[in-house]
């Protein structure tokens, strides 16, 4: 009967699989599974500021002209083997490497190595409104617009095949730092040409081609991203054959997968005590420059009123938030930037917790009976806020004491960000992780007027005085003067309270003991280039991977 057949087939399979056990071992030893907290919105980091997307794309698929290296975060060569800045700071010339190859995939086969055209294409797409690719995928390049690179760069000149010169409107302190961020990646101009011919321009952001250590093999929305090693990488090729991002938004789900050995590395683990107890697991942390904050939508009543915002800032008990949500592992935020930044102003006072004062401020603002508000809390764990829902609950009970009723609202992460950008919210819990060590990376993208226009400043707060101050800080070379300007900016923030900074936290990650190599970095996204697994036999692996790649080429199409 059918049942019997089924059972016997099943048994047969078990027997066969037992014989083949060795093969599986080598497969898992040559691959790393990373449990990520969310899906990327796109595969082009130019289009986003979301850390989840950066993690999945920048360092894996792409390279930048220059990069940060070492513990001191010194700018170092990447695609550009060297660069030169004129004395007036207005001309920056990059000399490119000649041996950089793009990914070869099922959908694209490069015929040439990287040259100046690719660099110019990548930046022109972002900066030039008339560029044929500018409006593909919406025409929003939040990071570049926020830091004002489109105003700063007025021309990009091709000197020869491997030399590119940027002409700047004025000297700018953060220019090189901005080019070294995860957003300023180099795309392939040749691929863009091919897509134009195929009339499939938007594929450039969904089926990415870059120069990075890994190439995209497969993406299933909300489920997994599969990368293969880029064998012709211009540096030593990555040590692992296959890198899989297992998208697991649930905190418990990620921990379960780690404990059940279904993931090698896990983003933002919870229950640190539990992980530390296991000998074959390790927990690591990196001091990241970030800030978690409570923000107001200035366009929505009653938060257009400064007094209401101040009242709420007095009513929130940050100490308990730090104890409960961050479990005492974070530092209280008094302003946007952490104490470790050179621009931190020691005169800034700690935010006082004073519900009485908050009440009288509310009375003064004409809300003596309180009001009802919506608080949007992030659905997933971020380095700056490990559990926004719990934080929202605590804030809910804090604000109840001054007669404000809070409704907590949450959406799936990419929907959440999208709706925030459209300004549907009243107040929100969010945060920011720095992309480079320059303090400007906090002040401009979070709260400037230009960021309010692109929607990355979700408070929509736009203050001329503040904007002028942070712009002045960018144009001066005198570090003391800069510090003074930033102190001024922070004083404005303390008075206007568009956001209530809550904490500066570490970024955590857990992994199985057999995974070697650094993944976390103090800035920007994670990097799997240096990762390998214990007991890896390089020679044997080389032969097998060649064999395998032949097989894979026959599988065309990407999901």
């Amino acid at each position: 009967m059918n049942n019997l057949k089924f059972i016997s087939i099943l048994l047969l399979c078990f027997l066969l699989s037992a014989c083949n056990e060795e093969g599986k071992l080598s497969l898992s030893e040559r691959s790393v599974i990373y449990c990520a907290e969310g899906s990327p919105e796109t595969f082009n980091p130019q289009l986003v500021t979301s850390g989840t997307t950066i993690d999945a794309t920048s360092n894996q698929l792409y390279n930048r002209l220059i990069a940060y290296q070492g513990d001191d975060n010194i700018l170092s060569p990447a695609i550009a083997k060297s660069w030169h800045v004129t004395r007036d700071g207005k001309k920056v010339t990059f000399y490119l490497r000649k041996d950089i190859t793009f990914h070869q995939t099922d959908y694209f086969a490069p015929t040439r190595t990287l040259n100046a055209d690719d660099v110019i294409f990548s930046f022109e797409r972002v900066l030039n409104f008339a560029h044929p690719y500018h409006l593909v995928s919406g025409g929003n390049y939040p990071f570049f617009q926020d830091v004002g690179l489109n105003d700063l760069i007025y021309d990009i000149e091709k000197i020869n095949e491997y030399t590119v010169r940027f002409h700047l409107a004025q000297a700018d302190n953060s220019f090189l730092a901005n080019l070294a961020t995860d957003f300023a990646v180099i795309l392939s101009a040749e691929y863009a040409e091919q897509l134009t011919k195929l009339k499939a321009k938007s594929d450039i952001d969904t089926h990415p081609i870059g120069t990075g250590p890994f190439k995209l093999k497969e993406y299933r929305v909300g489920s997994l991203i599969r990368f293969y090693r880029h064998k012709q990488y211009w540096q030593e090729p990555a040590k692992i054959d296959q890198l899989v991002f297992d998208i697991t938004p649930s905190n418990t789900g990620r921990l379960t997968k780690l404990l059940a050995k279904e993931c090698d590395v896990v983003a933002y683990p919870i229950a640190h005590e539990k992980i530390v107890q296991h000998e074959d697991l390790s927990l690591e942390a990196v001091t990241a420059l970030n800030v978690g904050y409570f923000g107001f939508n200035i366009n929505k009543a009653p938060f257009d009123n400064k007094l209401v915002r101040q009242a709420i800032s007095y009513a929130i008990n940050k100490e308990t938030l730090l104890d409960t949500v961050y479990q005492g592992k974070a530092e209280m935020a008094n302003s946007l930037i952490p104490k470790t930044s050179w621009a931190y102003d020691n005169n800034i006072t700690k935010q006082e917790f004073n519900p009485e004062l908050a009440k009288s401020l509310l009375n003064f603002a004409g809300y003596s009976d309180g009001f009802t508000m919506d608080l949007w809390a992030m659905p997933i764990q971020r380095p700056y806020n490990p559990n926004a829902i719990t934080m929202a609950k605590l804030i809910q009970s804090d604000l109840k004491k001054i007669n404000i009723k809070v409704n907590i609202i949450s959406f799936e992460w990419s929907t959440f960000l999208q709706r925030l950008k459209q300004g549907e919210h009243q107040a929100f819990l969010l945060g920011w992780s720095a992309d480079h060590p320059d303090p400007d990376n906090f002040f401009t993208p979070i709260l400037s007027c230009s960021a309010a226009q692109t929607g990355s400043n979700t408070t929509f707060w736009c203050d001329r005085e503040y904007d002028d101050t942070i712009k002045k800080a960018l144009h001066t070379n005198n570090i003391k003067q800069r510090k003074k300007y930033y102190a001024q900016a922070m004083a404005i923030l303390a008075e206007e309270v568009p956001v209530i900074p809550i904490a500066h936290s570490k970024r955590y990650q857990a992994r199985g003991e057999n995974v070697l190599g650094d993944i976390l970095a103090p800035f920007g996204g994670i990097n799997f280039y240096n990762v390998s697994k214990k007991s890896l036999n390089i020679e044997k692996e080389e032969i097998k991977s060649n064999h395998r790649s032949k097989q894979n080429n026959s599988n065309t199409g990407v999901n």
Partner: protein, 343 residues
């Protein structure tokens, strides 16, 4: 048989009418613009909107709108998901087989365990074994499935490490989805790790399938028990024992076959139940099926996906229901007569 078929067919059309009407009216009930809810085209430019309005005939009266809606469904066009902006019918085609696969395995386990246990209970009627089986079965259908799933993960994945806790297959194996049913896809694939993939997929399906199977198992126990008791009470069994057949002969030759027929009738109903339990279990075991997808769509207020997902899922359940009715009627001629006799 003809009249029976006609009756079922009329029921089928009636249901389809009801379900499509319901899902069509949902577009008006959900917040937001009807046409957007219908198509999911949230980012449409004005010119695209005109096109969409034309395609769905919104300028004509509601009856014609409904007819055009039916035409779109018949062409497999269920609109775009508001959240991911991808075609819903493609998403459903990839997800539904995973749910079916899981439910079928669970149904199989439930029948394999439940029916023999029910028979044993019936044979040992009113004895300790019977009471024991009945008590366990009551515990089984009282336990909340999401809780059971969590306990199962904690015990079998974390503490014992026997089975994986999430997903359909280890992500290391690259299996191209062809039919959507993982086991068939593995067999079709040309991966060098085919057989490991197969055993890995088997290990992945055991835990969720068992969790889903618990509640239906208890129902099968009861069904099998009642039906066996009834059969044992009939005169032909008494006649058989009068003839001098041994107890074993009676059970295996006569009783089991006749009681099985009665159970088959309920399999269809149980399948619907199973799919619902599977929806919840999929969430816990991160199974890439339609249940998890539907629940996520509800979170994201993705109205187009909710509406189409519900339509497809309820149609599917109903089709299974009618199919089992046919199988039952084919196996048991008595059933055909009863259906259109006295009502």
């Amino acid at each position: 048989m003809l009249i029976f078929t006609l009756r079922r067919l009329s029921l089928f059309f009636f249901t389809m009418l009801l379900l499509t009407l319901l899902s069509f009216s949902l577009n008006f009930l959900f917040p937001g613009e009807t046409i957007i809810n219908l198509t999911g085209a949230i980012n449409a430019t004005p010119s695209q909107l005109i096109e969409i309005n034309e395609a769905y005939q919104t300028h004509r009266n509601i009856f014609w709108q409904y007819i055009t809606y039916l035409k779109h469904i018949a062409n497999g066009d269920l609109g775009l998901s508001m959240a991911s902006q991808s075609s819903i019918s493609t998403e459903i085609v990839t997800l539904l087989p995973a749910t079916i696969e899981l439910s079928l395995v669970a149904l199989y386990i439930a029948m394999l365990v439940g029916i023999p246990l029910g028979f044993i209970a019936a044979i040992k009627h009113s004895k300790l074994t019977d009471n024991l089986i009945l008590s366990i079965s009551m515990l089984g259908y009282s336990i909340p499935v999401f809780w059971l799933g969590l306990l199962a993960i904690l015990t079998f994945s974390i503490s014992l490490g026997w089975f994986p806790s999430a997903g359909q297959i280890s992500l290391l194996f690259e299996i191209k989805p062809v039919t959507g049913i993982q086991f068939i896809d593995i067999l079709l694939s040309d991966s060098p790790y085919k057989w490991q993939a197969f055993s890995d997929a088997t290990a992945h399906i055991i835990l969720p399938a068992c969790v889903i199977a618990v509640a239906p198992t208890t129902i099968f126990i009861r069904l099998a028990r009642t039906s066996m008791i009834e059969v044992l009470d009939t005169s032909y069994i008494r006649a058989a024992s009068a003839k001098g057949l041994t107890f074993q002969q009676i059970i295996f030759r006569h009783a089991i076959r006749n009681s099985l027929i009665k159970i088959i009738r309920h399999v269809g109903l149980q399948f619907a139940n199973l799919i619902t339990i599977a929806m919840v279990t999929e969430v816990i075991f991160s199974w890439p099926g339609i249940g998890r997808w539907l629940i996520e769509s509800i979170y994201q207020r993705d109205y187009t996906a909710i509406e189409s997902g519900l339509l497809v899922l309820s149609c599917f359940i109903f089709v299974v229901h009618i199919l089992t009715d046919f199988i039952y009627a084919a196996l048991n001629p008595l059933a055909r007569g009863n259906k259109y006799g006295a009502r």
